[in-house]
Symmetry: C2
Subunit: 356 residues, 2 copies
């Protein structure tokens, strides 16, 4: 059995990117764009179209092969009797989150963890004796770059997310998103969602697709905001998951998040996430080209007996977003080998951010 | 952290019941009843009503407090502006399967495992050297009653469900249900689903509830038949879950069911299952009074900030179904203490089985 890599291998990669990419990349030229109407009812796979009939359902996408292929795929999928028809119950679409639905420089959940460490240290000053906590308080993120960095990050994760009830954790996540701003773009994180992808989610739902988040981030971190950010209800969020500690005693339930990891929803773990939560092969799968994390889910979607669509976002826009590449180029190589659609943020998107 | 009890503690209890109850209980007098139209589209939380307006949506339920309370709860939940209104996104209903949606004497999944053991032993006669396999082949189920019974049952589970691809396992499940008949009722298992409960599922969906199976049985065992038996799609099935072994190599995915248990979806584990798969507190929860397995989920649903409904099926009909009780009466005691609705199969149901 494959041993899932630790969440903090992902975390460490993310942190390295956070530390590195914000130095390399320029801030976007314009972050004050039109609001994204991300409020469609996604509890239904057959949500009625919200767009005006005949109107362009993907106005933030530049005309070109990628846009045309998306429109043609969806048209064929919904044309009964046609060769590309996909029955409604098989119209399952999975979307990675970080770098696919919103900007991932920096990783938002890592910002949340760092902030929670600081809050906890205020409540319990003795925590600052821990070198990892001290490093966060001193804003010395270089501390996490050495060989023990992962171990220290794991300690922080356990410190900030376990022993809380799911309801308390949800409240903490909501409080974070109510206040926090993207450090470079200086806007609330909701405004750093990608407008073209929010349009794509709505367009798919309007055509009977059930849209799912398939994030490497924590399931309990994404759920509280998935509906308002993307129109995706909590039960259609898949993410890295910890076990839950549930006790029933004298008729009362005590529920807490436990430290034990149940699923790292990244790389092959994303396929395990789909198997656990959906039990169907998605016919539409979207990811991005960082850390090879989406190759497995896109490969899996291509095993569907129905026509399928694979989309990989390429972060090639240093002006409006952040330009970065994988060292080994594995994701783009897999896209080329399998005829997946590579979406260029620079060339394919008229606007990048959902904005206010 | 609570250590989930082994699936085969449940299994052993089930087996004991299987061995015991079929001796005590009489076969139902009449199993050739009207068909259940269990084909509603449950991928949507807002499925249109299938019943004629004004018609009784629960014709297999005898008029009485339980039926009236169900009708009143749903009417209030859907009356906007009223004190019992529940917004559509919160209308989540969870149903245990064994003993709540279909007859559990014997446990159907145990029949499947025993049959698969026999098949495997045909393919590999050397397996019969294993005393547990030999006991199955000799129909010596007393073998599993001793103190090592659980250990032997675990071995059989590992033997019959691991190392297979999910697709192959699904095919095996479908093949089983295509052929197998209930040993006492002598009908296909689909006909042993409870007609009143299938009506209830349809009625809830017609009123904007999203219906979920929350079974102690295996998620991969329930999913292939949940849609045709109950109108519930695979992604709304929660069950006991094993880990999946996923490997991506040279662009190819190899996927197998692994022997490691991820969730025992029974007792407190049912709450963990809801947290993992739904992330919302159900407002309607249904279980039955065997082995105290549903007390936790019903307790949890009562913590909803919205009005909620708890239903516990009582197996008190030795004529038409099977009459059995918990030794300690824990489920009925919890129902009394918490004002849950106890449904008497004898008194509340006009008909019991969905039939052909």
């Amino acid at each position: 059995m494959r041993k899932w890599q630790s969440i903090w291998v992902t975390g460490a990669v993310s942190l390295a990117l956070l530390l590195g990419a914000c130095r390399q990349a320029q801030a976007p030229a314009d972050t004050t764009q039109a609001p994204a109407p991300a409020t469609a009812d996604a509890t239904s796979a057959t949500t009625a179209p919200t767009a005006t009939p005949g109107a362009d359902p993907l106005p933030s996408w530049r005309d070109g092969k990628n846009k045309q292929d998306i429109l043609a795929f969806v048209k064929a999928a919904t044309t009964e009797g046609g060769p590309g028809f996909i029955p409604p119950e098989a119209r399952v679409a999975t979307f990675d989150n970080d770098g696919t639905l919103w900007a991932e420089q920096p990783i938002v959940q890592l910002q949340f963890v760092l902030q929670r460490v600081a809050e906890l240290a205020k409540q319990k000053p003795e925590l600052a004796k821990d070198p990892a906590v001290k490093a966060v308080l001193d804003q010395n993120l270089d501390f996490f770059r050495d060989k023990d960095g992962e171990k220290h990050l794991m300690k922080l994760l356990a410190l900030t997310s376990t022993g809380l009830s799911p309801a308390d954790f949800e409240a903490a996540v909501k409080a974070f998103f109510a206040e926090a701003k993207h450090p470079k773009l200086n806007v609330p994180y909701k405004q750093t969602t990608y407008k073209p992808m929010v349009e794509l989610l709505q367009y798919l739902r309007a055509n009977g697709f059930q849209t799912w988040i398939l994030s490497g981030g924590g399931i309990d971190f994404m759920r509280p905001i998935a509906e308002s950010f993307y129109g995706i209800p909590p039960q259609q969020v898949i993410g890295s998951t910890g076990e839950y500690d549930v006790k029933l005693q004298d008729g009362k339930l005590a529920i807490n998040k436990a430290a034990k990891v149940a699923l790292i929803n990244d790389h092959e773990g994303k396929v395990a996430g789909i198997l656990t939560h959906i039990g169907k092969v998605p016919v539409f799968a979207a990811g991005n080209e960082r850390s090879a994390g989406d190759i497995a889910q896109l490969t899996y979607s291509q095993t569907s007996p129905y026509p399928s669509f694979q989309l990989m976002v390429n972060h090639d826009d240093g002006e409006r977003e952040f330009a970065y590449d994988e060292k080994d180029g594995a994701s783009l190589a897999a896209a080329k080998a399998n005829n997946w659609h590579v979406v260029s943020i620079r060339d394919d998107w008229v606007e990048v951010y959902a904005g206010p």
